[in-house]
């Protein structure tokens, strides 16, 4: 972001040692607010807002996340379920909503299934790591030193 000309003028005020603090403050406040506005706008530009998309586009995004989750990416399903929850259940109905609803429900089920699998494996590994013999050691990524 380039430094606006108002800033330079402020510097010159200080150097001439005139009592122009008030002027400087106002200009600083302007710079501050300018900065805030620009960042807020730029943020808004980066984030996808579902309201601005057409229903077809919304369905497209939802479908992409749903299909992507099958590639062993449960986080995509989690995000799909949370993000499109409002679209699927809370907004006024539109033609694509039914399909979005099925995707959201299936994503939620998938997330729960993955959560179950991961938790069970975690517990089993921690309990049976030493009892599995060599298999336990070969599955461990960071082999513990000094303790069994």
């Amino acid at each position: 972001m380039s430094i606006p000309k108002t800033r330079w003028r402020c510097e010159q005020f200080h150097q001439s040692r005139t009592n122009a603090n008030n002027g400087c403050q106002i200009i600083n406040a302007q710079i501050h607010s300018d900065y805030e506005e620009s960042t807020v706008e730029s943020n808004k530009d980066n984030m996808v807002s579902l309201e601005k998309k057409s229903p077809e586009e919304r369905l497209n995004i939802c479908r992409k996340y749903y299909l992507g989750g099958f590639a062993f990416l449960p986080l995509l399903w989690l995000i799909n379920a949370i993000w499109f929850y409002k679209q699927a259940f809370k907004v006024e109905p539109y033609p694509q909503q039914a399909q979005i609803r099925t995707y959201v429900i299936r994503s939620a089920i998938g997330t729960l299934a993955w959560l179950l699998i991961i938790t069970i494996w975690n517990v089993l590994f921690q309990v049976f790591r030493t009892k599995m013999g060599p298999a336990g050691d070969y599955l461990t990524f960071v082999v513990p030193r000094g303790y069994y």
Partner: protein
């Protein structure tokens, strides 16, 4: 106190070792074990400490500082049961070298009973009755030992200054001896080989115990095919080169003087005597092979490997055409083991087994020649010795063994068996005043021991009665080199230049006797034994040849069995009149790895107890530090002041920001 920590750099530490079924030794956490120091000096303090409920409940973690006199299994068991998880570490101290305990041995009462000749017999003989067996126990906390007098005095001064009452601050200790090994050898070795990818390198956690078995003999005659070796034509002379101690110190005394240093000195002296008589011995078809075994202190690993090599035609190694030696070819085995010198009238005991194979004439002529060797009754139980494995692996059907050791009514004379206290003072040697050629009572005793043995051996083999003697100077030099300074003129005289230079790093240290692991750490032991043994058994006809170094190298081109090296020459050993600047040494020696067959056999399950499978853990930093634990009120005040300072700084900042016109968030001018 100016510093935050006081370090004790000369402390000894206890490490982890693992075998097929157990782990032994001590382990600390990776950041070190710390706790409040509590000193227990004698039995009364020990009793009062255990019953002092107030102290025990008020303090969370203890590091008990224990007098070495109280370091035995009863006190340890009581302490561990009473304190349970509160015992975070143990520091054992020795007040001064003059007050060392009369007996101290962390080995078992029956050493090496796990793999002995008498495995299935119910009645065990307690050869080491004062052994507390603590070496073979596993402790979940670190144990360290301070044996320097000034370290003890420093520790005591801090303890007395700070521990006078409950209200003042107290001393704390931090012991850091983190060991990498865990569970058993099998687990440790397996984990040491796991590597998941190219960027994840395998990290070795433990090393198998073992060094080198070295053997040497007179360089003539050799049984080269098609010449067949006749049965019962080989006599083996054995000695070991290792020991262990519960408390290790980097660059410190390792102990091991009464076993194996004395045996090694006697062994090398006997080798020299046999070398002197080579003219007569070379005419006979029998061979005397001198063998040093490494790794026998821990379940006879070296002996098992030697017998395994023999069974599998690997003895002798590296000789393509030389006829292999098997158990049928062995005539007898003579071993030097645990020789102790207790005074000028010291005796050593001769054990022989089995009685149906032993040569009574040999025993009688040996014991008649000298009063220092006393025969033991027939079928007396054998002391812990490598020969037990030789008998066991051959079911005692092939050859007899003769063990020369120092025992006193079925007890080893060594009070410090396998501990670091086993130093030259136990041989009545004043090590500080020992010079290169000092004649001590001990070296005279060795002379009186090996000369009759050599004479009897030669008589048994050749039938000649030769009154062979060894120069006292040679034994004096050996004693100096082994017990005081390995970088001595003897080793430089018998080694070539490169070998000799490797000893400069060990100047003013004695020969270390400790657990050797493979890959071998830098230890001078094997080079010393190899060079000295092969020199003493060298072909003495070459002493009269004035060969240059290049001529010596030329000799080795035609001979694949013997080794040639060019050395400066060791004067007491050279009997020719003409002296040269350098000598070509023609000798025969071989080295073989001495790690247990468990590590040599392909696809051997390390959990199997057929062969011992000892491994020693690896470790990185060892440290012992003392610090001051402030009182409760001191800690609270520090915390409160800290929080106050934090809040004050926040408040001051807000004030500055709110009331002054300076904006500290101004973007900088470019």
């Amino acid at each position: 106190m100016d510093e935050m920590y006081i370090s004790f750099n000369r402390a000894r530490y206890c490490v982890r070792r693992v075998n097929a079924t157990h782990e032994i030794g001590c382990q600390s956490s990776s950041r070190g074990n710390s706790g409040r120091m509590y000193m227990i000096d004698d039995e009364n303090e020990f009793r009062s400490f255990l019953t002092n409920k107030k102290t025990l409940d008020s303090i969370g973690r203890f590091i008990i500082t224990l007098n070495i006199d109280l370091f035995d299994s009863e006190h340890m068991d009581e302490l561990m049961t009473r304190l349970d998880t509160k015992l975070n570490g143990l520091l054992v101290y020795l007040k001064s070298n003059l007050t060392r305990p009369k007996h101290f041995s962390p080995d078992d009462q029956c050493p090496n009973h796990r793999h002995s000749y008498y495995l299935n017999q119910t009645q065990a003989v307690n050869w080491n009755p004062k052994g507390n067996g603590l070496f073979f126990r596993s402790f979940p906390f670190p144990i360290m030992l301070i044996d320097e007098e000034d370290d003890y005095k420093l520790l005591l001064s801090y303890y007395q200054r700070f521990n006078s009452s409950q209200s003042t601050s107290s001393c704390g200790l931090e012991l850091k001896t983190f060991q990498n090994a865990a569970h058993t050898s099998k687990t440790c070795m397996r984990r040491g080989e796991i590597s998941h990818s190219l960027i994840d390198e395998a990290e070795t956690l433990c090393d198998p115990v073992g060094g080198l078995n070295i053997y040497s003999k007179l360089s003539e005659p050799l049984t080269i095919t098609p010449k067949q070796r006749s049965p019962k034509s080989v006599i083996l002379i054995l000695a070991t080169t290792d020991s262990f101690q519960m408390f290790l110190k980097a660059n410190g005394a390792t102990g091991g003087v009464q076993q194996p240093a004395t045996s090694l000195i006697a062994f090398l002296s006997l080798a020299h005597l046999i070398g002197q008589a080579q003219e007569d011995l070379n005419k006979i078809e029998k061979e005397i092979i001198f063998v040093t075994l490494d790794g026998d202190a821990l379940d006879y690993s070296g002996s098992f490997r030697f017998m395994y090599d023999m069974e599998n035609n690997y003895f002798p190694t590296d000789s393509k055409d030389e006829e292999r030696i098997r158990k049928e070819h062995i005539h007898s085995v003579i071993e030097f083991q645990a020789l102790s010198f207790t005074g000028q009238l010291s005796e050593s005991n001769l054990y022989a087994h089995p009685s149906n194979l032993t040569n009574e004439t040999f025993i009688n002529s040996l014991t008649n020649r000298t009063s220092t060797i006393v025969p033991m009754p027939r079928d007396a139980p054998l002391p812990p010795a490598s020969s037990q494995i030789f008998l066991r692996q051959t079911s005692s059907l092939f050859f007899p063994v003769y063990i020369l050791t120092s025992t006193n009514q079925s007890q080893l004379s060594n009070h410090y068996y396998h501990s670091f206290f086993d130093d030259p003072s136990t041989l009545s040697i004043n090590i500080s005043s020992l010079e290169y050629n000092t004649t001590t009572d001990f070296s005279q005793w060795i002379k009186s021991l090996v000369e009759p043995l050599a004479q009897t051996l030669i008589e048994t083999i050749t039938g000649l009665n030769k009154n062979i003697t060894i120069e006292q100077e040679i034994i004096n030099n050996l004693v100096y080199c082994v017990l005081k300074n390995i970088n001595c003129p003897l080793i430089h005289n018998v080694s070539n230049e490169t070998s000799g230079n490797s000893f400069d790093a060990f100047d003013q240290t004695s020969l270390p006797f400790s657990v050797n692991t493979y890959p071998t750490a830098t230890t001078p032991t094997f080079t010393f034994v190899r060079n000295t043994l092969s020199y003493f058994l060298r072909d003495r006809t070459y002493d009269g040849l004035n060969l240059t170094e290049t001529a010596c190298k030329e000799q080795s081109k035609n001979d694949s069995f013997r080794l040639y090296r060019f050395v400066g020459g060791y004067p007491p050993s050279i009997s020719t009149e003409e002296k040269f600047l350098g000598y070509c040494v023609r000798s025969y020696y071989r080295s073989a790895y001495s790690s247990s067959p468990a590590f040599a056999i392909d696809k051997y399950d390390l959990a199997d107890t057929t062969y011992p499978a000892w491994s020693e853990s690896r470790w990185s930093t060892i440290s012992l530090r003392l610090f001051i634990i402030p009182t409760q009120s001191h800690e609270i005040i520090t915390l409160v002041i800290g929080i106050l300072l934090l809040s004050i700084s926040f408040i001051a900042f807000f004030f500055l920001r709110y009331f002054t016109k300076l904006s500290l968030l101004q973007p900088s001018s470019s």
